[in-house]
């Protein structure tokens, strides 16, 4: 690892100032992606701004019918939170399947979405549930937040502060994990609620995407049968030594059916 100056601000303003003042700064939430990247000497930031000491960024609250999750809330906290489990069990399930227990104890929702790894789970959670990302500058609908592979709508000095999830009537997340890395080869979130009918897919493409054909099919009837014939073209899907595009396309169909069946419960 190259050396850097570590900042541990206790307020969002101080964090924004620190990142603004750095010649080549990186924001760190849980560090579950950034620290391994630094260890491999794939990045050489002058400054790292750790958000972990900012109390205001942690925690889960209900607000205006939404579940609002602070940016540095860990996956383990989301997975175990009674409110999340009661109102959006699909989200608790998603958080409970990220990485491994130790990663869940450190990794955060804000860090995950700001990184936008194409195989991460949370992007499907946000898009599939129609969430809104709160930042130091604005509020961004999830549909507009994830731009492309490792790319989001965030500006350089913009920090995610929270994510607000509307409470769906039904939702479920199903994931087919890479057996080595345990990231999603394919993950599908389906939901029906205030944000409409939503089907979001992670792992299969360069970034999370909505499966509109499945959404239309579910408009008729929210059942596994309704999506039984939904297929996805392999063209443009990710292909690597762990899963070809064709296999990923199949997994999208299978995970979709499983998710709809679970959500229709």
């Amino acid at each position: 690892m190259y050396d850097f100056t570590l900042h541990r601000p206790t307020s969002v303003d101080a964090a924004a100032a620190a990142i603004g003042g750095a010649s080549d700064g990186k924001i760190m939430a849980g560090g579950m992606t950034l620290i391994p990247t630094l260890k491999q000497r794939l990045a050489n930031p002058s400054d790292v701004v750790d958000l972990g000491a900012i109390a205001g960024l942690k925690g889960i609250r209900e607000e205006g019918g939404n579940i609002v999750i602070g940016a540095t809330t860990t996956h383990a906290t989301v997975a175990a939170d009674p409110t999340v489990k009661a109102k959006i069990p699909a989200l608790a399930h998603l958080a409970d399947g990220i990485g491994d227990p130790q990663v869940r104890n450190r990794g955060t929702i804000g860090g995950s979405i700001a990184n936008n790894d194409p195989a991460a789970d949370y992007p499907a959670g946000l898009v599939g549930l129609g969430a809104t990302v709160h930042t130091t500058k604005r509020q961004i609908p999830a549909d507009d937040f994830f731009i492309g592979m490792f790319e989001t709508a965030l500006a350089e000095d913009e920090i995610v502060t929270a994510v607000a999830f509307p409470v769906p009537e039904k939702a479920a997340y199903m994931k087919f994990a890479n057996p080595a890395s345990r990231y999603a080869i394919v993950g599908v979130m389906v939901s029906k609620g205030p944000a409409g009918l939503r089907v979001a897919v992670t792992g299969a493409g360069p970034s999370v995407f909505r499966l509109t054909e499945a959404e239309s099919a579910l408009g008729g009837s929210f059942t596994a049968d309704a999506v039984a014939k939904v297929t996805v073209a392999a063209d443009g899907l990710n292909s690597d030594m762990h899963a070809s595009a064709e296999y990923r396309a199949n997994l999208v169909s299978v995970m979709l059916k499983r998710a709809v069946a679970a959500a229709a419960g």
Binding site: M1, A180, H242, Y247
Partner: protein, 788 residues
């Protein structure tokens, strides 16, 4: 059964230190004044080194020295040798190109060692390493063993034309052809035994140290056989007198073969310690383990089995291409020959076998022994062949095996491939395994799975292995450069405790417990009075280390022999003390008695007398300290039957192992708990090979594509079931303990059982490992479509 004697599941002595964080692994050791090494490695699979510029790195903060191959050449440091000469089909020795610890003219795989930077801290060494500028002329690379012998393929070594290390045969081809001519049916298969990366959890590490006052070196190393490492370094590489190097292998975190060999890094640390005048430490990062630990397996095989109309085997022909990587690792040549083709008889009476092995060089990491070493490859060939034969002949897979088993009254049994099996009862293991798995109930279980939309399959593997490596005269005649005996020293201390010095090395096997049980029972002293010392050439007689499931069969036998010497000497002392004739003194459970009297002396009293010999036989030396060397008379032949049941979800290809039965015959068992643990771990590695693990190189560039746990899939707890382990027992006939060896069995048996079960579930004959979910999904769907 005694609490700590032979046959008791004594809880392990070594566990307390491991469980409380007090284990002492090489990286836990820090020597006064130590400095740190970082290796500059080749990013290319094949390139000429035009120049290496170390000037900038040499001036970087904290840097003491930067060395290249030229510096080692100037000191006459030799090539890392391969210790087993294989004679090819024309009577010539294998091609043995030089393998210098730091490359001199060319690099031949990604991760090959180009330079070493030595600095005050590891970070300084690593950062300075980025300033070493190497001017490479990139060359085309050959990473595929299938294409290595093609005309026009890039040549890894000038002296190995066509990349051929050797073309070797075993058996009589004409006889085999004659047997095939008479066949009712011939089964043919093509298979790949996938390349694996051993991945002991402790990365390799070394600390080299030089004492200018005495001119002697010490090397701490993560080694499975410190004595052999010392011998190789002194005699072949560094040109040191053997009494000037002490090798210490402290607690070692798993080996599985990968820590048998003499590696470049430990060689460089030892050599450089004198050059820089400070202890030099190196610990591999996991990514370095991936690129530079010796890999395992990597065979491509075509095999044929000839049968009569009843499914009786008439002959077998096997053609294998074995990938040895870019250089020959310490024992690489022996693995696809004497540890592989000699096992092709399996448990069967196949009368004629012909094997041809072509071993090739490629621009990949060296390949050498990995848990099982040749024997898993042989079992995979035999047990896949037999399974496919059963399906083609429409015979029950248990029945076809039974019809061909060597029968108990046929032992000792001379196979057509050099080995003579001493004892076994293969039908008994099969019966027990069938009963444990409830074979009768399988059709019902299959129906129940089908009702859930899943495919269920059952797969057998009746394996044999040759362990307890090995009779020195036999391996010597086959080209081994060393003898494969083992040593033991049993030292009574004056106050009755005992120190055992063994040339075997424990890196997880639990020798400190098993050997202490053996000594406790043999000498009749409490187990807590026995200390097992291993892993230090400074205190232990020359030994040969631990690999090939040899520790108990060879090392344990040496301990038993040394204990016998102790008892015989003690008997003389006891006779003197009790004023009896030696012939009248009996020994039982730690006590010497004069037959027919109530006179007795404990062995502790005898030991005290031996060291305080105030009243002592005039013709006897004081002291009670005996050394024995044991050279086995034959290999041992553990064998058994493993049965695997799988359930497959056809929509995704997910394969779940739903049951696993292992019935093994390891001969006599000292600690059943430890033995079962070895079986579990072996199966996990075999299942890993069959379902998950695969070392992949890009065939164009020679880059390692599976260079971390992100891409190389290690078996996790949720990939595996609990295992059901049963035992049968025929005692080995030729060692004093009747033991056979258990460390590799699981890894040998498991791949064939797993693939046989999956292909059974899918209703197909063959597929290659690893059976990833995508592969299984494709085959399930092809088969479903074909059936429609």
């Amino acid at each position: 059964m005694p609490d700590t004697g032979i046959g008791a599941s004594v809880r392990r002595t070594e566990d307390f230190r491991f469980l409380t964080g007090q284990g002492r692994y090489t990286d836990d050791i820090n020597r006064p004044g130590q400095v740190h090494a970082h290796f500059v490695r080749s990013p290319h699979a094949h390139a000429k080194i035009k120049s290496v510029d170390t000037a900038a790195a040499g001036k970087a903060p904290g840097v003491l020295a930067v060395f290249t191959g030229a510096d080692m050449a100037a000191d006459n440091v030799g090539s890392l040798p391969c210790g087993w000469v294989v004679t090819d089909r024309h009577g010539d020795p294998h091609k043995a190109p030089a393998h210098f610890p730091l490359a001199r003219d060319k690099v031949r795989y990604v991760g090959d060692h180009v330079a070493v930077v030595i600095a005050q801290t590891y970070v300084q060494a690593k950062e300075a390493g980025e300033q070493v500028t190497v001017d490479y002329e990139e060359l085309p690379a050959i990473a595929s063993s299938a294409k290595a012998m093609d005309s026009g393929a890039p040549q890894v070594h000038d002296e190995a034309s066509g990349n051929l290390c050797y073309d070797w045969v075993l058996g009589d081809e004409a006889e085999a052809d004659a047997a095939f001519a008479k066949a009712h049916h011939v089964t043919r298969i093509d298979l790949v035994n996938n390349r694996l990366i051993p991945n002991a959890m402790e990365p390799r590490a070394a600390i080299g140290e030089y004492d200018g006052g005495t001119g002697s070196y010490t090397l701490y190393s993560t080694s499975q056989n410190p004595h052999l490492l010392k011998l190789i370094l002194c005699a072949f590489v560094l040109g040191l007198s053997e009494n000037k190097l002490r090798v210490i292998a402290p607690d070692v975190g798993g080996g599985f073969g990968s820590k048998i060999f003499c590696y470049a890094e430990e060689t460089v640390c030892t050599w450089a310690a004198k050059k820089v005048g400070a202890p030099v430490k190196w610990t591999a990062e996991r990514s370095e383990s991936f690129t530079s630990d010796a890999h395992g397996r990597d065979h491509i095989t075509h095999a044929e089995l000839a049968m009569d109309k009843d499914g009786k085997f008439l002959g077998m022909k096997v053609q294998t291409t074995a990938n040895l990587g870019a250089y020959l690792s310490s024992f690489a040549t022996s693995v696809p020959t004497y540890l592989y083709a000699t096992l092709l008889a399996g448990q069967y009476t196949t009368p004629v076998i012909f094997a041809n092995v072509k071993a090739v060089f490629t621009n990949t990491a060296p390949v050498d022994a990995y848990r099982g070493a040749g024997r898993p490859e042989a079992t995979y060939v035999v047990e896949r062949l037999v399974e496919v034969a059963a399906r083609e002949m429409k015979l029950d897979p248990a029945e076809i095996r039974r019809r061909n088993f060597i029968q108990p009254d046929q032992f000792p049994y001379q196979t057509p491939v050099a080995l003579q099996y001493d004892i076994g009862n293969y039908g008994q293991s099969m019966d027990k395994a069938l009963e444990m798995i409830d074979y009768q109930g399988f059709p019902e279980r299959r129906k129940a799975s089908e009702a859930k939309g899943k495919l269920r399959g059952i797969g057998f593997s009746a394996y044999i292995e040759a362990c307890g490596i090995a009779p020195s005269a036999v391996v010597g005649s086959l080209g081994a450069g060393v003898g494969l005996w083992e040593s033991a020293q049993v030292r009574f201390n004056a106050t009755g405790s005992v120190s055992i010095f063994t040339g075997s090395h424990s890196h997880g096997q639990g020798h400190e417990t098993t050997f202490a049980q053996l000594v406790s029972e043999t000498l009749g002293i409490p187990m807590e009075n026995v200390e097992i010392v291993h892993g230090d050439t400074g205190s232990i007689p020359m030994g040969m280390g631990t690999y090939g499931s040899r520790s108990l069969a060879v090392g344990g036998s040496a301990i038993a022999k040394a204990c016998d010497k102790i008892i015989e000497k003690s008997r003389k002392i006891a006779a003197h003390l009790m004023e009896a004739s030696v012939e009248d003194v009996e020994f039982d459970k730690g006590t010497f008695r004069v037959a027919g009297t109530d006179k007795e002396k404990s062995i502790a009293e005898i030991a005290f007398t031996a060291y305080v010999p105030h009243n002592y036989p005039a013709d006897l030396e004081p002291g009670l300290d005996e050394t024995a060397f044991y050279d086995p008379l034959n290999f041992t032949y553990p064998a058994g039957v493993h049965i695997c049941e799988v359930e497959i979800e056809p929509s995704t290809g997910e394969t779940k192992i739903v049951d696993w039965v292992a019935v093994d015959d390891f001969g006599k068992i000292i600690n059943p708990m430890v033995v079962e643990g070895q079986v579990h771990g072996g199966i996990a590695q075999g299942v890993g090979q069959a379902l998950l693990e695969n070392c992949v190189y890009d065939l164009e560039s020679g880059q390692l594509l599976t260079g971390s746990y992100m891409d190389y899939c290690m078996p996790r707890a949720d990939n595996l079931p609990s295992f059901r382990v049963g035992m049968t027992q025929t005692a080995c006939t030729h060692n004093p303990l009747g033991v056979k060896g258990c460390g590799e069995a699981g890894a040998i048996a498991a791949p064939a059982a797993t693939i046989n079960a999956i292909t059974d579930a899918l209703g197909i004959l063959s597929m290659d490992m690893p059976a990833t979910s995508e592969k299984v999904w494709r085959l399930a769907n092809q088969h479903a479509q074909a059936a429609e």
